[in-house]
Amino acid sequence: MIQPVNIMSLLLILSVLFAVGSSGIIPIIKVVALQGIIVTVLPLLLHQDLTTGSLIFGAVLMLIRGFIIPILLYYSITHVIHKNELDPVCGYNASIFAGLLIVIASIYISSKFSFPIIQQTPLILPAAISVLLGGIFFLIARRKAVTMVVGYLMLENGIYLIGASLSKRAHQVVEFGILLDVLIGVMIMGIVLFNIQRAFDDTDTALLRKLKD
C-alpha cells in the first residue's frame, strides 16, 4: 500500500537528483521550495497528531519554508544578480554521478540504523540524509555564491526532517525558533550577496580568495 509518506520521500530523493543535474539557478530554487513544503508536511503525516494547533503551526512553517525563503532567493537572483547561468566546479555529468552516489550513500547509512518508525516508512531516513548530503554537495561543488545559500537551505531542510521524523516530541516553539534563524540567515546572506555583487560585480566565489596567509 502506497502511503503518502513514501511517495513524498521518493519525491524528495528525485528532487535532489534533479537539483544536482540542473544547470540554471532558478530551477534549483523551485526544487528547494518543493522540498520545503514536503519537509514540513511529512512529519505531520508521520506522527498523525493532526490537532488543530499543530496543523496551523504546520501551515505557518510550510508558508515560511516553502514560499517566503524561495521567493527571497528568486528576487535576489532576478533583480540583483541578473545572471542565471551557473558554472559548477565539476561538470554536469560528474554532478549527476555525484547525485547518484549521494543517494546510494544515504541508503547505505540509513540501513545501518534500526528505528521503530523506519519499519513502516523505510524511505524517510534515506530521503532526509540525501537532502542533507545534497546540501553539502551544493556548498562544496558549486562556485556561484547563491548556490551556496541554496546548499545551506537544503542542509537545514535535511536536518529538520531528521529531527522532526525521528524524535517524537517536537516543540513547535523550538521548531519555529530554528526556522526564524534560517529566515534571518538567508536575509543576511542576501544582503551580503547584494554588496558583493555591487563591489565585485560578480558573485563568483573564485574572486573571494584574497584573504590568505
Binding site: 534571518i184 551580503v192 584573504l211
Partner: protein, 476 residues
C-alpha cells in the same frame, strides 16, 4: 525581575538604535552596557527564576561567561564612544544596532538551558555579528563576512544535527527527560552511549567551528581582522566563550555518562591541533590584527586542552577563559588605536609605536606580555595550572608538544610586537590619544592583574561548581 529582561532590553535597544540619531545611539549603547552589567550582578547574587523556565536557567558556567560578556561590553561601549568620533564609519546606526543585537543574542546563549534554544542563540549571534564585519564595505571585509556567515552557519547546522542525535539517544533509551543540559547531565547514565558519542562529535565540530578550533578555524583570522576593532574585541573576547560554553555543557553530559576518557582525548586532540595551526601562522605574519586572531585560536586551543585533561587543568582552563577574554579584547582595542594612527594593518607600515603613541604602546605591550603568559597577568597562573594538571595525568608527550608550540608562539608574537613598537619609522600620526581611547584597555589589564592574585570567594565557588561535572574530584 524575570531572567528574560537580560534578553529583551538589549533587543529593544537594538531596534531603537536604528531609528535614533547618532548622538543618542552612543548613550544608548553605554546605558545598555551599564544596565546589563548591573543586571548580571543582580542575577549572580539573587539568581531569579526565568519565566520560560524549561528554556532558560542560570548555570554556574553560563553565569561566568555572562559576567565576562557584560563587563567587556561595557568597556567596549566606552571605547566605541570616542572610536565612533574618530573613525569615519558610514552607517554608525548599523554599528550600534548590531552591537546591541549581538549583546542580546550572547546573553540569551549564556542563560539558555534547552539544547535547541542554545543552538538558536548561537546561530543568532552569528547573524547579529555578520553586519559588524560588513561595516567597512571593503572587498576584504565582504569576503570575510561571506566566509564567516557561510562557514559558521554550516558548522552550526551540524551542531543542530548533533543536538538532534542527542534527542534520538534519549528516545532509544526510552527515558522521559526534558531536553535541557541540566536534566541531561543528571540522567546521562541511562542514555544510549553510541548515539550520545555521535551527537557529541557533531556538537563539538559544530560549536568548534564557532569557537575556532583547529581544522574549522579558517574563517576566524579573516573575520576578526576585517571587523572594526571594538567589534573584533567582542568577537574575539567573548563570542568564542559562548561557543565554548556549548562544548563545556555537552562534555559535562558525557562526563556524567562516564564517557570522560573519550571526550577528554577528543578535546585534547582539537586543542593541540589549534595550537599547532596557530603556531604556523603566528611565526610568519604580516598583519597584526590577524596575529591577534591567530592567538585567539591558540588560546581557545589551550582552553579546550585544559578542559579535556580535567582536574586542576579544567580549573586552569576556566581561569584561562576569563583572563584571555580580558587581555585579548584590550589588545584588539589597542590594535584599533594603531590602525587609526598608522592607517594600515601591515606590520611593516607601522613602527616606533613607543614614540608616537606612548599610552597605546603601554597597553599593547602590556597585553602582549600578559598574552605570552608572564607573571603580573593571569594567563601565567592558568598556563601553570594546565601544565601541572597535564603532568599529573601523566600525558607527557602531549604536554611537551603544547609547551614547544607555546614557546614558538610567544617567540613569534614578541618578534612582531617588538617590530611594531621599536622599529624606527618616520610618519605623521593622525590620532590624538584621548583618554577614552586608552583607559578602557588599561582597566582590562588591571582587572587581569588583580584577578591573577586575588579571586573573590564567590567567584571561586562559581568556578568550582562550573567544572564540578568534568573536574573529577577537584574541589579547590
Amino acid at each position: 525581575m524575570m531572567l528574560e529582561y537580560l534578553l529583551f532590553v538589549p533587543l529593544i535597544a537594538g531596534i531603537l538604535a536604528f531609528i535614533m540619531p547618532d548622538k543618542i545611539n552612543r548613550l544608548l549603547l553605554v546605558s545598555t552596557g551599564i544596565w546589563n552589567l548591573g543586571f548580571s550582578f543582580y542575577i549572580w547574587f539573587e539568581r531569579p527564576e526565568a519565566i520560560f523556565n524549561q528554556y532558560f536557567k542560570i548555570s554556574p558556567e553560563g553565569l561566568l561567561v555572562l559576567l565576562v560578556i557584560s563587563f567587556l561590553f561595557f568597556i567596549v561601549s566606552l571605547y566605541s564612544i570616542s572610536y565612533l568620533e574618530v573613525t569615519k564609519l558610514s552607517n554608525k546606526s548599523v554599528y550600534t544596532g548590531s552591537m546591541l543585537f549581538f549583546l542580546a543574542t550572547m546573553s540569551m546563549a549564556t542563560i539558555s538551558d534547552h539544547i535547541i534554544v542554545f543552538w538558536i542563540a548561537i546561530e543568532a549571534t552569528t547573524l547579529a555579528s555578520a553586519p559588524l564585519i560588513l561595516l567597512h564595505k571593503t572587498k576584504e571585509s565582504l569576503e570575510a563576512t561571506w566566509k564567516y556567515v557561510i562557514i559558521c552557519s554550516v558548522g552550526i547546522a551540524l551542531a543542530l544535527l548533533g543536538s538532534v542525535l542527542m534527542t534520538i539517544s534519549i528516545d532509544i533509551a526510552g527515558v522521559d527527560v526534558s531536553l535541557t543540559f541540566s536534566a541531561l547531565t543528571d540522567s546521562a547514565g541511562q542514555l544510549d552511549k553510541a548515539w550520545l558519542k555521535a551527537g557529541f562529535i557533531f556538537v563539538l565540530v559544530g560549536y568548534g567551528t564557532k569557537m575556532g578550533l583547529a581544522p574549522m578555524h579558517t574563517w576566524l583570522p579573516d573575520a576578526h581582522s576585517e571587523a572594526p576593532s571594538p567589534a573584533s574585541a567582542l568577537l574575539s573576547g567573548v563570542l568564542l566563550n559562548c561557543a565554548y560554553l556549548g562544548i563545556l555543557k555537552t562534555s559535562g553530559i558525557l562526563f556524567s555518562a562516564d564517557l570522560g576518557v573519550f571526550t577528554g582525548n577528543v578535546l585534547i586532540a582539537f586543542g593541540l591541533m589549534s595550537v599547532i595551526a596557530s603556531a604556523t601562522f603566528i611565526l610568519k605574519q604580516t598583519d597584526y590584527k590577524r596575529l591577534l586572531a591567530y592567538s585567539s585560536i591558540e588560546n581557545m586551543g589551550i582552553i579546550a586542552f585544559g578542559t579535556g585533561i580535567g582536574g586542576i587543568a579544567a580549573y586552569g582552563a576556566i581561569l584561562h577563559l576569563i583572563h584571555h577574554s580580558l587581555i585579548k579584547s584590550s589588545l584588539f582595542l589597542s590594535s584599533g588605536n594603531i590602525l587609526l594612527g598608522y592607517g594600515s594593518k601591515l606590520i611593516d607600515k607601522t613602527g616606533s609605536l613607543a614614540k608616537y603613541l606612548p599610552k597605546t604602546f603601554v597597553c599593547f605591550f602590556g597585553g602582549i606580555i600578559g598574552l605570552v603568559g608572564l607573571p603580573p597577568f593571569g594567563i601565567f597562573i592558568s598556563k601553570l595550572l594546565i601544565i601541572l594538571g597535564a603532568f599529573q595525568q601523566g600525558r607527557y608527550i602531549v604536554v611537551s608538544i603544547l609547551l614547544v608550540c607555546l614557546l614558538l608562539i610567544s617567540a613569534g608574537l614578541m618578534r612582531y610586537v617588538m617590530k611594531i613598537s621599536f622599529n624606527p619609522i618616520e610618519t605623521t600620526i593622525a590620532l590624538k590619544e584621548k583618554p577614552l581611547l586608552y583607559l578602557p584597555q588599561l582597566t582590562l589589564l588591571v582587572v587581569s592583574v588583580i584577578l591573577c592574585f586575588w579571586i573573590p570567594d564567590a567567584l571561586y565557588q562559581t568556578i568550582i561548581q562550573s567544572i564540578s561535572s568534568i573536574s573529577g574530584g577537584f574541589n579547590g
